[in-house]
């Protein structure tokens, strides 16, 4: 199995690190970690605490699908001792970038062990990479990142375990809150339109239907037929609300709402956190923000 290969790599690197560490033990340098996008960075920070330094390749409000690597990013990767990626095809550019940067750090695939959903896009079936939209999956991310950190920095094992347990507890509380809030929305009203179908896992986990005017990738341009189909569908199925997303053209959504009579909801965050002064600067805030916006727009 490929996984075993990874594990062996981790062990080898962990051993070599462990041998190297005692010399610098007096000045505890922070472990340099690179996460591909803001949500992974948030997970890593919660688990790593002040033992690690996290660099993020695609920052807040950035779009991971169409990211253009910068030289700085290759530098960060080259210096990293652990690289955290989402996998499932989200970061199509990461393999090339890692090779180009000469990075030798182990790569943690945060979705390892998650049961991936498929997305069907105009007949093309692909894996849906947005697994973090289900809090149950987010816990898998956290465990994978914890194990990766422990392998890369065994001296911090106790701290990583304590941090991860603490954060997993917060995620449990979050999950309970989300389920409670969603239970208040009548099931037949749990249908919304958003510009980017990043909510497949959220929909499965919490019983929502998300309908997107654009495809799996933010690069595709909507056709007149797609827009007409959605307007017809909103009218036919009485879909109560359409939502803007933080990564695509909001004008199209406003037009669809104006024409179909659906309510325009607030901003849902899917692929990226907001900047630190925004409403979704951490994963937990993002999920709370999304559920709050959904509940507000779908209430009668």
């Amino acid at each position: 199995m490929a996984h075993r290969g990874y594990v062996i790599t981790y062990i080898i690197i962990a051993l070599s690190l462990a041998r190297g560490l005692p010399a610098h033990a007096q000045t505890p340098a922070k472990l340099p970690v690179v996460a591909t996008f803001s949500i992974l960075a948030d997970f890593a920070l919660n688990v790593g605490g002040d033992r690690i330094n996290v660099a993020t390749l695609v920052g807040p409000d950035g779009d991971t699908h169409v990211y253009q690597p910068k030289p700085d990013d290759a530098k960060e990767l080259g210096a990293a001792q652990l690289i955290v990626v989402n996998g499932l095809g989200l970061e199509g550019w990461i393999d090339r970038l890692i090779r180009a940067s000469g990075a030798k750090a182990p790569v943690i695939v945060a979705t390892k062990g998650i049961n991936p959903q498929q997305m069907n896009e105009e007949g093309r079936i692909g894996l849906d990479p947005h697994a973090w939209q289900s809090i149950a999956n987010a816990k898998v991310y956290v465990v994978n990142i914890r194990d990766g950190l422990i392998a890369a920095d065994p001296a911090g094992e106790a701290a990583y375990r304590a941090n991860a347990d603490n954060y997993l507890g917060k995620l449990d509380a979050l999950e309970a809150d989300v389920k409670r809030d969603i239970a208040k929305i009548p099931p037949e009203r749990r249908q919304i339109i958003t510009t980017h179908d990043a909510f497949g896992y959220f929909g499965t986990a919490y019983g929502f239907r998300f309908i997107a005017p654009e495809g799996i990738s933010t690069e595709t341009e909507a056709s007149a037929r797609d827009v007409a189909k959605i307007i017809r569908q909103i009218k036919a199925q009485n879909i109560p609300a359409v939502f803007l997303e933080n990564v695509t053209d909001p004008r199209l959504v406003r037009r669809i709402a104006a024409e179909s009579g659906a309510r325009v909801g607030g901003t849902l965050y899917s692929d990226a956190l907001s900047p630190s002064d925004g409403p979704a600067s951490t994963y937990i805030d993002m999920m709370r923000n999304n559920v709050r916006e959904l509940a507000a727009a779908l209430a009668k």
Binding site: A224, A228, R255, A258
Partner: protein, 290 residues
């Protein structure tokens, strides 16, 4: 009934289709006549260069005020005018000719724009913003497009005579009047204005297509300047309508299809155009006249 479903129902049933058509018509009325003058003045690629030149201004407006029509329009206009005026001054005062100085200015402008955008860190929605969507025209954008078309038509009507003379024989106009300089500047300003309007609806590069393709095609159909303007505008409108209908039925993106339709009309004119198409060359007698 079936024909109605095919050709009219999309517009009868959906307001966004009517808006898209209105926007395309506004662009088609004003853009192609300007494209015609650009071609006649051997500045056919100027439109493309200017379109790149306005990107950074629009991007700055976007970064300053978000997705708001006013700042983006003003920013685009400012950048376009700076590049047009700058390259004009360089052409008049240095050894560089107009095309070389325009190329230099628009490349600087474009590079500046890309840099500005990356400063903000998120480059994602800019493509969506700058490659506007003809399907998402709101009231403000439609009014802007209509206003630009009106201003362009009035200005062209007022300037028509000096503009034609300046285009055909600039030294003659210079010998009888001092209006040559101002006419050229106003003309370039109109081009910039239309490109800025066009990028709201179709996106920058496609706005250039709407300007140049119907114009080039009209020149193959007639040799009469007045008729050319009418034919060019009519072709632009036809392309807008056909592109939207096909986008509606075939599920293909609207902006590119509109330009593809304009391109198809151009190819037809290239073959069959009575004033310069390929077929005309093979008619008996034509060779001897040449």
């Amino acid at each position: 009934m079936q024909l109605h479903d095919l050709l009219i129902a999309p517009f009868a049933d959906f307001a966004f289709m009517r808006r898209a058509l209105a926007g395309a018509i506004a662009l088609a009325i004003a853009g192609p006549p300007l494209g015609l003058f650009l071609i006649l003045r051997r500045m056919a690629l100027t439109g493309d260069a200017m379109a790149h030149a306005i990107l950074p201004g629009a991007a700055l407006g976007y970064l300053a005020a978000g997705l708001s029509l006013g700042p983006m329009t003003i920013g685009g206009l400012a950048a376009g005018v700076i590049v047009a005026a700058g390259s004009g001054v360089v052409a008049r005062t240095t050894v560089l000719r107009e095309d070389a100085s325009l190329a230099a200015f628009y490349l600087i402008s474009l590079a500046l724009g890309v840099t500005i955008v990356s400063l903000r860190g998120s480059n994602i929605d800019l493509l969506h913003v700058l490659f506007g969507s003809v399907l998402a025209l709101d009231d403000a954008t439609l009014i802007l497009l209509a206003a630009i078309a009106s201003v362009t038509l009035v200005a062209l009507a007022a300037l028509y005579r000096p503009l034609v003379i300046e285009t055909v024989d600039a030294s003659f106009l210079a010998s009888v009047s001092k209006s040559g300089g101002p006419v050229q500047i106003i003309f370039l300003a109109l081009v910039v204005l239309n490109l800025v309007g066009g990028f709201q609806a179709l996106g920058t590069l496609l706005a250039v297509g709407m300007m140049m393709l119907p114009a080039a095609s009209a020149m193959l159909i007639t040799a009469d300047m007045t008729a050319m303007i009418g034919i060019a505008a009519a072709q632009g409108m036809l392309a807008g309508y056909a592109g939207l209908v096909i986008s509606f039925h075939a599920g293909l993106p609207s902006g590119p299809l509109i330009i593809l339709m304009a391109g198809l009309l151009y190819l037809l004119a290239l073959v069959f155009g009575p004033a310069g198409g390929l077929l005309r060359r093979f008619k008996p007698g034509q060779h001897l006249e040449g």
